[in-house]
């Protein structure tokens, strides 16, 4: 029985390691490390295979033959192993000599392995199979083997210290544990050569080599060992089922054969019947169990990416404000993916640098990268993500790159590309769970970064559009001021004329002797009367200039504040009220005392009111008319009505009045942007505008704004 167990574990190990070697090679045949790993694993595979074969060898001749071939791989193992691990630790250049010596030594051993000086075989009844009988050189091979393993353990431990707390350290840990487990069992095989048969080293020790394959498999899935991330679910289930069928068949059949043959004296092939039955009944439940187990064990901490994409798209990518988008992206990712840090750098065309647009947790908050910096160059050339622990030291200039990652406090840097152009860099830090970024993470985040690029470009276009709109609004305003000139002239020049007149009068009176014989008191009174008038009139002129310059100044970035509409209406009437009264337009104002206060940009609201009131005045066609400005509260919203009894808008034109460049005015009199801008501005301030009109009867504009309290509640 021991013999069979020993052979079976070796057989499964051979198949599993072959699979592993092939898989790793397939996933990265161009990578030196992967190739070395495959060679080493293949050696383990062939070693195991010939171990199985030598156990079942029927004659000494065959046993010796299998044993010698087995030992070719056993001899090569230390050198191949050291070679791989030094490549894995990227120390192969420095330890080139050691590697060469080991290969030469192995070569010599291989030559000797075909002589009795190295080994012969002898049948051991207590084991039930042919066992290697060590020659005089054999111990040297074991010493080299053990020394190499110990040397590598030391190297691995040193690297573990060096790469503490990184993804790499986790890969190293897995690898370290896997090889300790694997080799401890592997080495136990040598004990039987010296007639030791200590449980559990014999026969269980050999199974630890298989355990090694399992640990490496987990390392690949969880920590991208050998840079491989696979959807392993099916493979794991398949491997489990295969092991079950193979194991059941071998164990049950062999046991059954002995039982039926020796105890019952039946035909030994009857033994296959229970095997078939077991396999038939147990296969399906086992498949379910294995599927659940792999799912639970290997994938339990996977993120629900559909949720991530959905939340991110809904919450972040719909933001059209270029100032807010980066902040929301960063905070969104931090929250959804539970990251320690995240930063977004955006390309600044004017300065030709990638500038920090938003960050949480970066060590240098105002870091920027030039076009020719390593990070930018690599991202541009590869259009692929850089994982700090995985790819950084494979890239030229890794020192600079490592430094950049450190400053950004990043684990993963993703390009944010738009039409082959790198418009930004998304840098993500460690996950709070301490888990590593998997290939699946990187794939999803790469897609996300692309979507982010579209969002940024949308926000930029929107920003440019609003800038163009702002410019158009300014032009419109200047055009309006031109038409205002008459009114302004009246409001400024009249007070100045009066000031001048009083001063001139005083001087002329003096010259004409009109003040002759006046007492000092009388003169003081005359002078102070004049002074008071001067002060009053200059104040009047100053007031109007202030209003005008306040209106003409381009609006800066929106500043929201509480606005009392009636006050703003008065402000506007101060500018154009005289013009209207001269044109015999009567203005009525009717705002209730408890009219809702709204939150908006004061300047923009003034512009809106100004535009609509002026339009109303112009609609009178120089005829006397009336404008009624009224307000009321409706469901908490502030509703403002501006009604005129002017010429009205024909029904077929009313649909167009909010369109840009639509004007009914004579060329040069209006830009056709007034109402277009009014609508944009109203909507920007969370309001709405509606118009009702009847040709020959008049027009009513209705503005509706949520009140300040409502707006605050919504936010």
């Amino acid at each position: 029985m021991d013999k069979h167990f020993y052979a079976i574990t070796s057989g499964i190990t051979a198949i599993a390691t072959l699979g592993l070697a092939y898989f790793v090679f397939l996933k990265g045949r161009l990578n030196k490390i992967n190739r070395h790993y495959s060679i080493w694993t293949l050696c383990v595979c062939l070693w195991s295979l010939f171990l199985t074969l030598s156990i079942y060898a029927k004659s000494e001749e065959f046993a010796l033959w299998f044993c010698r071939i087995l030992h070719i791989f056993a001899i090569m193992l230390p050198a191949v192993y050291v070679d791989f691990v030094l490549h894995f630790l990227r120390r192969e250049e420095r330890e080139r000599k050691l590697i060469s010596i080991l290969y030469v030594l192995s070569g010599i051993f291989v030559l000797f392995s075909f002589t009795p000086m190295f080994l012969t075989v002898s049948y051991r009844p207590e084991f039930g199979f042919y066992v290697t009988k060590p020659g005089i050189f054999y111990p040297i091979h074991i010493v080299v083997f053990v020394s190499c393993i110990l040397y590598i353990y030391i190297r691995l431990i040193l690297s573990l210290v060096e790469f503490r707390d990184t993804e790499r350290s986790k890969q190293l840990w897995y690898f370290f544990i896997a090889t300790v487990v694997g080799y401890s069992g592997g080495l136990a095989n040598y004990l039987i050569n010296y007639n030791f048969k200590i449980f559990p080293l014999y026969p269980l020790g050999n199974a630890t080599v298989l355990l090694y394959v399992v640990i490496i498999g987990v390392s690949i899935v969880r920590h991208q060992f050998m840079d491989i991330e696979v959807v392993i679910r099916r493979t794991a289930v398949f491997a489990g089922l295969f092991a079950f069928v193979y194991g059941t068949f071998t164990v049950v059949t062999i046991l059954g054969q002995e039982f039926f043959k020796s105890t019952l004296g039946w035909n030994q092939w009857v033994a296959t019947i229970p095997t078939v039955l077991i396999i038939t009944f147990a296969l399906r439940p086992l498949e379910i169990f294995l599927t659940n187990a792999t799912e639970k064990f290997l994938f339990q901490k996977k993120y629900d990416y559909r949720e991530l994409l959905k939340t991110f798209t809904n919450e972040v990518l719909t933001v059209l404000d270029l100032q807010k988008l980066p902040d929301q992206t960063v905070s969104g990712l931090i929250r959804i993916m539970k990251l320690e840090s995240a930063s977004l750098l955006l390309y600044d065309k004017d300065n030709k640098i990638y500038k920090m647009a938003a960050t949480v947790g970066a060590k240098e908050k105002d870091i920027s990268f030039k076009d020719d910096d390593t990070l930018v160059r690599y991202l541009k050339a590869s259009q692929q993500a850089i994982l700090k622990d995985k790819s950084v030291d494979k890239i030229e200039g890794d020192g600079v790159l490592k430094d950049s990652f450190k400053k950004l406090n990043a684990q993963l840097c993703l390009p944010v590309p738009l039409h082959d152009e790198l418009i930004g860099i998304l840098c993500l830090g460690m996950k709070k769970s301490g888990e590593d970024y998997t290939q699946e993470d990187v794939d999803i985040l790469t897609t996300l970064a692309r979507t982010e690029a579209i969002a940024i470009s949308n926000a930029k276009l929107f920003d440019e559009l609003s800038k163009t709109q702002a410019e158009a609004a300014q032009r419109e305003k200047m055009a309006v001021i031109g038409t205002l000139a008459a009114g302004i002239n009246h409001e400024i020049c009249n007070p100045l004329g009066i000031v001048r007149g009083h001063c001139e009068m005083f001087l002329l009176n003096l010259r004409d002797g009109l003040y002759h014989g006046k007492s000092v008191e009388e003169m003081s009174k005359i002078a102070s009367d004049i002074m008071n008038k001067v002060i009053k009139e200059t104040d009047r002129a100053t007031g109007i200039t202030k209003k005008l310059s306040g209106f003409a100044k381009p609006s800066k970035r929106s500043e929201l504040e509480e606005i009392y509409i009636e006050k703003e209406v008065d402000e506007v009437l101060g500018l154009i009220g005289h013009d209207m009264s001269v044109n015999n337009i009567e203005v009525q104002k009717d705002f209730p005392e408890n009219f809702p206060v709204i939150t908006a940009d004061k300047k923009q609201i003034q512009e809106v009111l100004f535009n609509i009131i002026r339009n109303a005045a112009q609609a009178m066609d120089k005829k006397p008319g009336r404008i009624v400005l009224s307000g009321f509260s409706e469901n908490g919203s502030a509703v403002i009505r501006i009604a005129d009894n002017g010429s009205g808008i024909p029904a077929d034109k009313i649909g167009q009045i909010f369109n840009p460049f639509y004007t009914t005015k004579a060329p040069g009199k209006g830009t056709g942007l007034g109402l277009f801008i009014v609508k944009q501005v109203v909507e920007k301030n969370k309001g709405s505008i509606a118009v009702e009109s009847e040709a020959g009867v008049g027009t009513t504009f209705t503005l509706r704004f949520p009140n300040a309290a409502e707006l605050a509640a919504a936010a």
Binding site: N494, G497, G501, L508, V582
Partner: protein, 124 residues
């Protein structure tokens, strides 16, 4: 005594004219819009009318035309805004204005001169 009627919605302007011309031997009358102005013209028959062009209610040109219909001998001096100066000036002169002044009046002395000339013209 020579009567000057000022028709202007700008009270300060009528006050200024009053305080300048009264001590110089004129009787200054004031109206703040056209209708009142016309009523005063009917009653007082002033020699000189200073009329602001832009006023609520009847505009200056209309008021002048009506004054000249009532009292063709009245010398009307129009006060116009500087905007569209040439055009409105010609328009006023065609309607029968004696002369036009831009607002604001730059010199009271010049206005006084003009009034004197108008009066002398009337005597001829």
């Amino acid at each position: 005594m020579i009567k000057i009627l000022t028709i202007d919605d700008e009270i300060e302007f009528t006050n200024l004219i009053d305080s300048y011309f009264s001590p110089r031997g004129y009787q200054v009358l004031s109206a703040y819009e056209g209708e009142t102005g016309l009523a005063i013209v009917k009653k007082e028959k002033p020699e000189i009318c200073l009329i602001d062009l832009k006023m609520p209610g009847k505009h200056g040109d209309e008021v002048m035309s009506e004054i000249l219909k009532l009292e063709p001998k009245t010398k009307c001096i129009m006060i116009t805004a500087s905007e569209g100066e040439g055009k409105s000036r010609n328009h006023m002169m065609r309607l029968g204005a004696y002369t036009c002044f831009d607002k604001p009046i730059t010199s009271l002395r010049t206005l006084e001169q003009s009034i004197k000339e108008a009066l002398a013209d009337g005597k001829r």
